[in-house]
């Protein structure tokens, strides 16, 4: 049963198109993430669902009712803001109960509900505190409780964890997900952190420059990206320059070495392409599996990252660099710098991108850091 439906939703600010033709059908209880870089339109779309922006075109339907033109205070959605936006003049309990107070519920009912939520958020004795007395993580939980108090039909979260420390972020996002599951509430979650999106969602919408790039489960998005943008934004990626030998048979050369790719692509003989490859698909050593591609190169760098060892290998005359990750293990025998090694990857692993496609590569990411 489609619970939240956005049809051809579009938002334009003067000449600037922030959101082009957004379409989504979310089921009841589903957790959907909008994932993308700053300025891609994900927050704007969320705000249109909340009612803070008016769509230039399109329709938003919630549980069968058209809410496109309804003012924000008449929609039954609960929003959690990036900056928490807790009311500083009210206690935690008053903050949480605000939505109920505005709906004129009796005060004993409000108190009961507030206590319920304080329990749920694991803040049992903080009801009479003021926001400034709480830590960031606690404030965010209060914001979440506040949004849930009046039992909204949809929960909206606008990058709720981006202002928090890394450790708290990981802990809190699990809490959010488990509470969401417990309550079974339809949720839209906006983030630029792909780890968050992938680990929490039932489905992910990847956005870029106002467009929906791809909609799918985290598994689909990661393993079967349909556009270059999705491939590069989600997860890390090796980008290798290749030259087409025979597109129909999936043959290219990378750094002069032959490679077979089991996916459809186009290109005339001799044309430049870029071959995208996830680090975890590449393994050290000649893979015994039949038909696996093999490339030979020299080790440039071995970086120990804790649970992962990252090895950079230059292919051919050093133009192409492959980054591969191996799980750290005390018995691991790591290659040395300047050692010649063989790497292998399966034939259906790589993605072939147009040479002109704008993608971020692992190299670029390392260079930026």
């Amino acid at each position: 049963m489609s619970y939240l439906v956005l049809t051809d939703v579009r938002k334009q600010f003067g000449e600037f198109v922030a959101v082009q033709s957004f379409n989504l059908t979310a089921e009841r209880g589903e957790f959907v993430s909008f994932l993308g870089p700053s300025g891609c339109g994900k927050t704007t779309t969320l705000r249109m669902i909340a009612g803070f922006e008016q769509p230039t075109a399109g329709q938003i339907v919630l549980d069968g009712e058209d809410i496109t033109n309804r003012p924000p205070n008449k929609r039954n959605v609960g929003m959690v803001f990036q900056s928490y936006a807790l009311f500083p003049n009210m206690t935690v309990a008053d903050n949480i109960g605000f939505g109920l107070k505005v709906r004129k519920r009796p005060s004993d009912q409000i108190k009961k509900r507030v206590d319920e939520l304080l329990e749920l958020m694991n803040l049992p004795d903080k009801g009479s505190r003021y926001p400034y007395q709480l830590s960031g993580g606690q404030q965010q939980r209060v914001a979440l409780a506040r949004a849930l108090a009046f039992e909204p039909q949809v929960l909206l979260l606008d990058e709720p964890l981006s202002a928090l420390d890394a450790k708290i972020r990981v802990a809190l996002r699990q809490e959010i997900r488990s509470i969401q599951r417990q309550l079974g509430i339809t949720t839209v979650y906006v983030t630029h952190d792909q780890e968050e999106a992938l680990s929490l969602s039932d489905r992910v919408v990847v956005m870029s420059q106002g467009r929906m790039e791809q909609v799918g489960t985290p598994f689909e998005i990661y393993n079967f990206p349909t556009t270059a943008f999705v491939a590069s934004f989600v997860g890390t990626l090796n980008i290798l320059p290749g030259i087409v030998t025979d597109a129909a048979r999936g043959e290219v050369t990378i750094a002069g070495q032959p490679v077979r790719i089991d996916r459809k692509f186009e290109g005339s003989e001799g044309s430049d392409v870029r071959v995208a490859l996830r680090p975890e698909m590449v393994s050290l050593g000649a893979d015994a599996a039949n038909g696996a591609n093999r490339l030979t190169g020299k080790v440039r760098d071995v970086n120990f990252l804790g649970s992962i060892v990252r090895i950079r290998i230059g292919l051919g005359d050093g133009g192409a660099v492959v980054v591969l990750d191996e799980f750290n293990e005390p018995t691991l025998k790591l290659p040395q710098r300047d050692e010649t090694v063989t790497i292998s990857f399966p034939q259906d692993g790589p993605l072939v991108l147009d040479a002109s496609a704008q993608v971020e590569s692992v190299e670029a990411l390392i260079a930026e850091a």
Binding site: A50, G51, F52, P71, P72, N73, K74, V77, G78, M79, F81, S83, A85, L86, F87, P88, N89, M90, F98, G99, K101, V102, R103, P131, Y132, R146, A147, F150
Partner: protein, 298 residues
């Protein structure tokens, strides 16, 4: 200084902390000296004078504050200050709100704030004159209304009276409120309103339950500041009324001119009384200011 000498005599710890102590204060000596000579000393002399009656130490002057024209003067001063503080506060807040959040073109906000900076400084003689030119017996507004058949001087209205003075004082009270409350209104986060709306509040409910409570310390604090501002004003009142209105600053004015109270000590006591009231108002302002800063910074 005694503390500073002991350690060096004992000789054990480094001499630096000892030598640094007076040197750190050196740079502040001109300031302290100047402040003492021209601020603390005159104020102290006033206080000393207030305790003297007929060249003897006496508390009588303070008791005598309740005699003659003085209580009336204090009362009227306080009344005028309260009225202009509250009215100026409310109107000033309304103007600031309207120009920042009311949907008016953006340039009006800048214009209003700049003008407020000028107008809050346009007190004293020129302001009194400007109002005489407007609402005096021959003022352009008076004449204009007479042309319409309305004679404002027919009734009790006198520009030189209490109400007239209040009207004039608002000319610098309102801008002062606008200037001080504008940053506070700016400090209202957009997200608060959105969060309130999101939870079902109407704009009125948002203002009543969230925005006004958050702004209240600022508003009240500024009103207190406005109170002190009006309480101490003299030049405007003197020029407007010729010294005829019985407010405490004009009483002091007459006293300086020539001991109208026939008791120098009483004059000083009245002055000290004024200082006391100002101290209370500044203290209240400081407390409220701190509270508002804490909330608006969150």
């Amino acid at each position: 200084m005694a503390e500073a000498v002991a350690p060096s005599e004992r000789g054990a710890p480094p001499a630096r902390p000892v030598r640094r102590f007076p040197r750190n204060w050196l740079g502040l000596i001109p300031f302290f000296l100047f402040s003492f000579l021209f601020m603390i000393l005159p104020t102290s002399f006033l206080m000393i004078g207030s305790f003297q009656k007929d060249d003897q130490f006496s508390l009588q002057n303070y008791a005598d504050l309740n005699t003659g024209i003085i209580p009336g003067a204090f009362f009227t001063s306080i009344e005028i200050s309260l009225v202009t503080a509250i009215a100026g506060g409310i109107v000033g807040f309304a103007l600031a709100y309207v120009v920042i959040l009311g949907g008016l073109p953006k340039f009006l906000r800048t214009a209003t704030l700049t003008f407020s900076g000028v107008a809050s400084n346009f007190a004293g003689v020129p302001l009194a004159l400007a109002f005489i030119f407007t609402l005096g017996q021959l003022g352009i507004l008076t004449v204009f209304l007479q042309g319409l058949g309305l004679n404002i001087y027919e009734g009790d209205f006198r520009l030189t009276g209490k109400f007239g003075l209040e009207l004039v004082y608002l000319y610098f009270q309102i801008p002062l409120m606008v200037l001080i409350i504008a940053p506070a209104i700016d400090g209202l986060k957009k997200e608060w309103r959105e969060a309130a709306e999101n939870m079902g509040a109407t704009p009125a409910q948002f203002w009543w339950r969230v925005a006004l409570p958050i702004l209240m310390p600022s508003i009240l604090g500024t009103m207190v500041l406005l109170f002190g501002n009006a309480f101490g004003a003299q030049a405007t009142a003197y020029q407007l009324t010729g010294g005829t209105l019985n407010i405490i600053t004009l009483v002091i004015t007459s006293q300086i001119r020539g001991d109208v109270l026939h008791n120098p000590g009483l004059g000083y006591a009245a002055a000290v009384g004024m200082i006391g009231i100002m101290v209370v108002s500044i203290s209240v302002y400081t407390v409220l200011q701190r509270r508002s800063e804490r909330w608006l910074r969150s």
